[in-house]
């Protein structure tokens, strides 16, 4: 895995993904270790982000590494019209690894082809967000003790949600059953479903979540954005069907955990937060350990 960029979740084999999760468990036990003292990590955020940028920076800081970069491209030469290629080539001179988020799809793949240091994709438009996938996988394994043979529900915007796409693709290696709950207009795209079909896995599509709640081990909630609807009346009609409240969790399995990539708006009622099945904040914390594991693997540090 040394020097191997992570742009799309499928860039890493199942074995490589599992090796990262295993190492992440070590960092969970011991997150502060001075093993990155000789390294400079660049975090280039051409687009704003709270959790992803801060968890990367926290991951590096806890390991003693130095961080350079920006959280807003408007204060850089990008504003003067510098190409992405030139920005990346320049930053390669100053750092050992680049973490980048960019609003254009494919930007991270392109950067990985022009860069002399490895690239970690922290989100390229609506395309991929592989470190979120790794932390989602870590959280599922942590709460269920395994990744195989689980019943997983994805709820909300399955069309545009990049975290859903990457996680579905990754879980196709683990014989999971997929329950896909979304409004008709926001169904999982066929380009993602094809991965499920290729592995001959079971998947079911629904427009409401009631009937799947008692069946599933993981409930992965996502936000539905009003602006995704061509007709605002359609949004008003369906918006309440995708809100999870505490009373809906009565007949669910004991091992059920509710995940959400965050930020949440109103799709999970705040009264769910105190239920032991709510796990989204711990999920966000796991992002630090998984990113520590990924960075040290890529830099080849034991």
């Amino acid at each position: 895995m040394k020097n191997k960029s992570l742009v799309s979740i499928n860039d890493y084999s199942k074995e490589e993904q599992l090796a990262i999760l295993e190492l992440a468990a070590n960092f969970e036990k011991n997150p502060t270790q001075k093993i990155l003292e000789d390294y400079v990590i660049a975090t280039l955020f051409f687009e704003p982000s709270t959790r992803t940028r801060l968890s990367f920076e926290s991951a590096v800081s806890r390991l003693g590494g130095k961080i350079i970069g920006f959280s807003d491209a408007s204060s850089t030469s990008v504003k003067k019209g510098e190409s992405l290629k030139d920005t990346i080539k320049t930053v390669c001179n100053y750092s050992d690894l680049i973490v980048m988020r960019h609003p254009r799809e494919g930007s991270a793949r392109f950067a990985s082809e022009v860069a002399s240091v490895p690239i970690i994709n922290a989100g390229d438009g609506a395309n991929q967000h592989p470190t979120q996938t790794l932390l989602d996988m870590y959280t599922i394994k942590q709460t269920q003790g395994r990744l195989d043979n689980l019943n997983i529900a994805f709820v909300g915007d399955l069309k545009y949600g990049r975290t859903v796409h990457s996680l579905v693709m990754a879980l196709c290696n683990f014989n999971c059953t997929f329950h896909l709950v979304s409004p008709f207009e926001l169904k999982l795209p066929s380009s993602v479903k094809i991965h499920i079909k290729e592995k001959n896995l079971e998947y079911y599509q629904y427009t409401t979540m009631d009937e799947i709640l008692p069946k599933v081990d993981i409930l992965y909630m996502t936000r539905i954005q009003k602006e995704r609807f061509s007709d605002p009346i359609e949004y008003e009609k369906i918006k309440n069907s995708y809100i999870l409240s505490n009373d809906m969790l009565n007949n669910t399995k004991d091992n059920l955990k509710i995940l959400h990539p965050l930020p949440r708006v109103n799709e999970i009622d705040e009264d769910v937060d105190d239920n032991s099945k709510a796990y989204y904040f711990q999920q966000a914390l796991n992002g630090v350990y998984v990113r520590q594991a990924l960075i040290t693997k890529i830099l080849g540090i034991k």
Partner: protein, 151 residues
């Protein structure tokens, strides 16, 4: 002896690309970079065709294409026939095949793809040859036949 009249004159040695859709002849010329070729090139379009009503044809002197090179045109001329000519005689006939990878020719359909904003050569994996679906190497979105435009 029966004489055959050519709308486009015969060449002594080289390649004839026949059965190109009439409206795509110039596209084929561009894809094969024939604009910069120094030898004789003869072409005709909107010619009568028994098989396809109308067709285009290109005759390139002293040029024998490599397989990869010629397969690029399969996207715009899937039913094209290649005819190798030596001494005015047909020595080989074959048809084009859609390649596994498409580089530089097609534009990515996704307006937010990096290839539409930076100087990046487009690159696709062909995921379906029957329906002609191309998966972008960069943004991973599918460009299909009805959305296909050329660089």
């Amino acid at each position: 002896m029966e004489t055959k009249e050519f709308k486009v004159s015969a060449i002594e040695n080289g390649t004839v690309i026949d059965h190109i859709p009439a409206k795509n002849v110039f596209q084929v010329i561009k894809i094969l970079n024939l604009e910069n070729y120094d030898n004789q090139i003869l072409f005709g379009t909107n010619l009568e065709s028994k098989k396809y009503v109308t067709k285009g044809i290109i005759k390139v002197s002293n040029k024998f294409f490599k397989t990869d090179e010629i397969n690029k045109i399969a996207l715009v001329a899937p039913r094209a026939t290649l005819i190798i000519i030596k001494d005015y005689k047909v020595v080989e006939k074959s048809s084009v095949q859609i390649p596994d990878e498409v580089i530089k020719i097609v534009k990515c359909f996704n307006p937010n793809c990096i290839t539409n904003h930076e100087k990046v050569e487009t690159k696709f994996t062909v995921t379906s040859k029957e329906e002609l679906k191309l998966r972008c190497h960069y943004c991973e979105k599918i460009t299909d036949k009805k959305n296909m435009t050329f660089v």
